[in-house]
């Protein structure tokens, strides 16, 4: 949404798990929009609103909370900070639809960790239970990814660029298939680095592990996977 008024419309017509609110927008700013959302939601569930503020000043934050926002991250938005804020405010039970109770709800979370659009593609084919192929493909991913990561760590340690490239390519494909863009992106970097003049170091692998953990956690929370 490009401004506060649009955000207000969106929130009143669609059920979101959280709102990321810029404070300074044309037409209606974040503070006004938040106050209005809170006014309308008197009897409904309270939607978490997370401010994205340019200033890291204490008074900015106070103003956000006063307007009815729940949390804030400072701009430029760091992935980890945003992830933490979302984890704090978006309750996993909201994300995870109850199993075996009709049509599962659309999970809604950070799209760079898990791409919901890709997941809905996987849900659109296969078994006719609303989940489609998603659980089976997620399960295949969770089964294969630790071995790929271990192989890459091993390859970096021994300087085996060929194996690194192969494993990175493999995990990249698997992550893209399941809709884990961050994991796929780091794998792509590793794949590129292993063909270039500056081979990858352990730091990138650590980063990959963090992202893989994050994606794995979200997948386990949101998809009914038999383990």
């Amino acid at each position: 949404m490009a401004d506060g008024a649009e955000a207000l419309d969106a929130v009143s017509t669609t059920c979101y798990s959280a709102v990321l609110m810029d404070c300074h927008m044309p037409v209606m700013d974040g503070f006004e929009a938040t106050e209005e959302i809170r006014r309308r939601q008197v009897n409904g569930t309270r939607i978490p609103i997370i401010a994205m503020t340019a200033g890291a000043m204490a008074e900015d934050r106070a103003r956000c909370l006063a307007a009815g926002m729940d949390d804030y991250v400072s701009k430029t938005v760091k992935q980890a900070a945003l992830g933490d804020a979302l984890t704090r405010w978006v309750c996993p039970s909201v994300l995870a639809p109850a199993q075996g109770h009709g049509e599962p709800a659309e999970p809604n979370h950070d799209s760079s960790v898990i791409d919901v659009q890709r997941q809905s593609v996987l849900r659109s084919i296969g078994p006719d239970d609303g989940w489609g192929l998603l659980p089976a493909t997620v399960s295949a991913f969770l089964e294969g990814s630790p071995a790929s990561l271990a192989a890459m760590r091993q390859a970096v340690a021994t300087g085996d660029l060929h194996s690194l490239r192969e494993s990175a390519h493999q995990l990249k494909g698997a992550a893209a298939n399941i809709g884990a863009p961050n994991v796929a992106a780091i794998c792509h970097q590793l794949e590129q680095a292993s063909s270039g003049p500056t081979p990858a170091d352990g730091a990138l692998i650590d980063q990959l592990e963090t992202e893989l953990d994050r994606a794995t956690r979200l997948l386990l929370e949101t998809v009914p996977v038999a383990r």
Partner: protein, 203 residues
């Protein structure tokens, strides 16, 4: 039709399999190039969906090439899975013998549509190869006596001769003829002569 899915990621394989089976096709799966080639030679599938990179064994391009070298009367429709829209990679794949390509992450609908085309193309090739065989048979058979004709005789003699050279064995030829048949034709007419022809040996 029979579809071979050669792809190293189990999730992608499952996705591709589901799409092919939704279309009513039989599926066989390979997790690497080595398995893919073994399954191909054993089952000779109509369509191959091959990943670009799937160690160990031949990669997607080498697999395309090997399949094209292997087939004689049949045609295999090959769809290459490429991880990114790298133009050179796609062109190299088509040059190696691929018919089409799908970009990963695999879009189910894209593969679905391509499998429809694959079915049409392989059906046409099958029909074509049946016509070709029938035409070859007709070109080598005399329509009246149903005996092999002069063209077939030439080919058979060639084979026979080469085989005898190779295994160092002798062969003999017997020539059969009908004596005085020209006289019969001259007396009773060619149509009467034709009526007396029967396929021989009797079938």
């Amino acid at each position: 039709m029979r579809v071979l899915i050669a792809e190293d990621d189990a999730g992608v394989r499952l996705l591709a399999r589901t799409i092919a089976e939704d279309l009513g096709h039989e599926c066989i799966e390979a997790a690497n190039g080595q398995e893919a080639w073994a399954l191909f030679t054993r089952h000779q599938p109509d369509v191959v969906v091959a990943d670009r990179i799937m160690p160990p064994g031949p990669d997607g391009l080498q697999l395309c090439q090997a399949i094209r070298d292997f087939e004689n009367n049949s045609y295999t429709y090959i769809i290459l899975l490429t991880s990114l829209a790298a133009h050179e990679e796609v062109l190299a794949g088509i040059d190696a013998g691929a018919d089409d390509y799908v970009i990963k992450p695999l879009d189910p609908f894209a593969l679905y549509a391509r499998l429809l085309v694959g079915y049409r193309v392989t059906s046409l090739h099958l029909e074509l190869s049946r016509y070709r065989q029938e035409l070859a048979r007709q070109a080598r058979t005399d329509p009246l006596t149903k005996l092999s004709n002069r063209l077939k005789l030439g080919e058979d003699l060639e084979v026979l001769h080469q085989r005898s050279n190779r295994y160092d064995r002798e062969y003999s030829l017997a020539m059969c003829d009908i004596d005085l048949f020209k006289q019969y034709n001259d007396t009773y007419g060619h149509q009467a002569g034709t009526r007396h022809y029967r396929p021989w040996p009797p079938r």
